[in-house]
């Protein structure tokens, strides 16, 4: 019996990013689902049941990614996804010159498993996914 192909969900309000990263992931034989608004995430998670999430931070709010990540990791509404790895992908460094510092986060915010800067380098992205989602 063949192993199920892992599914990666991209949550990002930038359609160009979704398109480009979808191609990278599909070429690496992952299934891909995407959501373009944080408001649609709950429904999409229940429908797609992803094995890993690529999560943009700055969407409707500058901090949507933080709120969503914390919800997915801690809310009873997302109990089935508490252990699902999340990778933050953010353009904040490109826009402001500095990154979000996740090292000091603790109580009050459950963070992601990894954090990558946009523009994402395909090799770096796939390596990080393989670390978190061994095939």
């Amino acid at each position: 019996m063949s192993k199920k192909t892992p599914k990666i969900m991209i949550i990002d309000d930038d359609p160009d990013f979704i398109e480009a990263v979808s191609m990278i992931l599909k070429s690496a034989t992952y299934d891909v689902a995407s959501v373009s608004s944080p408001k649609l995430v709950g429904e999409a998670l229940a429908r797609e049941k992803p094995d890993l999430i690529l999560l943009d931070i700055m969407m409707d709010s500058l901090f949507d990614g933080f709120s969503l990540c914390n919800d997915i990791k801690t809310s009873p509404d997302y109990a089935a996804f508490h252990a699902t790895p999340i990778i933050f992908v953010s353009a904040v460094k490109e826009l402001t010159g500095s990154r979000f510092d996740l090292h000091e986060e603790g109580e009050g915010f459950k963070g992601p498993e990894a954090y990558l800067d946009k523009p994402v380098k395909p090799k770096e992205l796939l390596k990080k996914i393989e670390e978190l989602l061994p095939k």
Partner: protein
């Protein structure tokens, strides 16, 4: 003789304008007119209980109502012998940080930035500077959220009381505030870089005396029992009238202050100039990176100083939460003393705010409020006069009105707080019991 008038000064809190009298090709007089109606707040305190007064006086203004709340509480506690606990002081400081973030982001991004980028308003900035407008909106909202969480409401929160707090925030509320302050850091650092990369025009760049509170322990901060001036002079807050020496002007509902006969300035630039060497963390690093001798001579750098203070606040918030979550909630302290008089002061976003009350048999007999704008008003007038004189002498009359707007706005004046009912009896006030 002719006059040059700015008309209504846009993008300041309240209503004011600048009028210049020109004679023989020279500026004879500059008048910073504060023409908003008096609010009579001090008189309204007479006969009220201390608790009623704590509820009443912050209504003087919605922008810095938390500072007024903290100042009246400090004055009443000093007058009635109440010593608040460490937890109460930490939570008041956190409330203060919320107001600082809310007010400074409002002034820097919404009120001042359009001047320097050549736009009529912050709304007009949105198309070309969407990130800056998003930072402005969310930074202000974060400050408001702190005010609501700690104070009970976005504006005029009634949770802080004499001797404590009516309700303590939950651990989850506090840790959320801590996380969000940290998450803000890239945007806060960008704010500092933005307001320190602006090419602020030269004003006359003459010496100014700066005054602010001197927090204990050699710290940078917004509360203290002593006043410190850039001249090196220091005095107790209880002697604040030796600093302010208020007098009246026929063209202004805002009383004027002068120290040793000279105008002085308060606000973020005063704090950062007087206490900046005490800043640590990223705020300290960036203060040392950006500060120049111009900061002591050009009020337009108040915008740069406010950005440094936003960063300092965002770094201070997690420190405060770290301390707060380890301390147990406490009941409000009982007030047993019925009579006493004292001053209390805090640093409002736009400068030192003094409250003084005389309480007799459990009711206020007299009150005195001296706001930041009332202290800086004469210096605003002085800088306007010198700047207009220079522009006129250089044949640049057309640049005078825009420059007057820029100068007044840089001070972030709160005209609404500063107005008093004044009575011109030979220039002297008739009050009974002031210190």
């Amino acid at each position: 003789m002719k006059t040059i008038e700015t008309g209504h000064l846009a993008r300041i809190e309240g209503h004011g304008n600048v009028v210049l009298s020109i004679d023989g090709g020279r500026v004879k007089e500059a008048r910073f007119q504060v023409i908003e109606g008096p609010r009579l707040i001090e008189r309204l305190t007479v006969g009220k209980t201390p608790d009623e007064t704590v509820n009443l006086v912050p209504r003087i203004c919605a922008i810095c109502s938390a500072s007024h709340k903290l100042a009246v509480i400090r004055a009443m506690e000093n007058a009635l012998g109440v010593t608040p606990s460490k937890k109460v002081l930490l939570l008041r400081e956190l409330l203060h940080m919320g107001e600082q973030v809310e007010s400074h982001s409002l002034h820097t991004y919404y009120l001042a930035l359009p001047d320097y980028l050549g736009y009529p308003s912050a709304i007009a900035l949105a198309e070309k500077f969407p990130l800056e407008v998003r930072i402005a909106l969310e930074m202000k909202a974060f400050g408001n959220t702190i005010l609501k969480t700690i104070g009970g409401r976005f504006i005029h929160g009634e949770n802080p009381v004499i001797g404590g707090f009516g309700k303590w925030p939950t651990r989850a509320e506090l840790t959320w505030i801590r996380s969000r302050a940290r998450q803000f850091m890239p945007f806060t650092l960008k704010t500092v870089d933005l307001f320190n990369s602006i090419a602020y025009p030269d004003t006359p760049e003459s010496d100014t005396v700066f005054s602010c509170l001197n927090p204990s322990g050699g710290r940078f901060g917004l509360m203290g029992d002593e006043i410190i001036l850039s001249t090196g002079d220091q005095m107790s807050v209880q002697d604040y009238r030796k600093l302010t020496n208020e007098s009246l002007r026929p063209h202004s509902f805002c009383k004027r202050s002068a120290y040793k006969g000279k105008p002085f300035s308060v606000g973020a630039l005063a704090r950062v100039n007087n206490l900046g060497e005490r800043l640590d963390g990223e705020a300290g690093k960036l203060f040392r990176k950006y500060v120049t001798p111009k900061w002591k001579r050009n009020p337009l750098y108040n915008n740069a100083a406010q950005a440094i203070e936003i960063l300092w606040s965002m770094e201070r918030i997690p420190q405060l939460v770290d301390e707060l979550v380890g301390l147990p909630d406490e009941p409000v302290l009982a007030v047993t003393k019925k009579t006493g008089k004292a001053a209390g002061a805090v640093e409002a976003p736009r400068g030192t705010l003094y409250h003084w009350y005389d309480v007799v048999d459990g009711h206020v007999a007299d009150g005195d409020i001296i706001t930041p704008t009332a202290q800086s008003a004469d210096d605003i007038e002085r800088i306007c006069f010198e700047s207009a004189s220079r522009l006129l002498a250089a044949g640049k009359e057309g640049e005078i009105v825009p420059m007057m707007n820029l100068i007044v706005r840089a001070y972030d004046p709160c005209v609404s707080c500063s107005v008093h009912l004044i009575r011109l009896d030979g220039g002297k006030e008739k009050r009974r019991n002031l210190p």
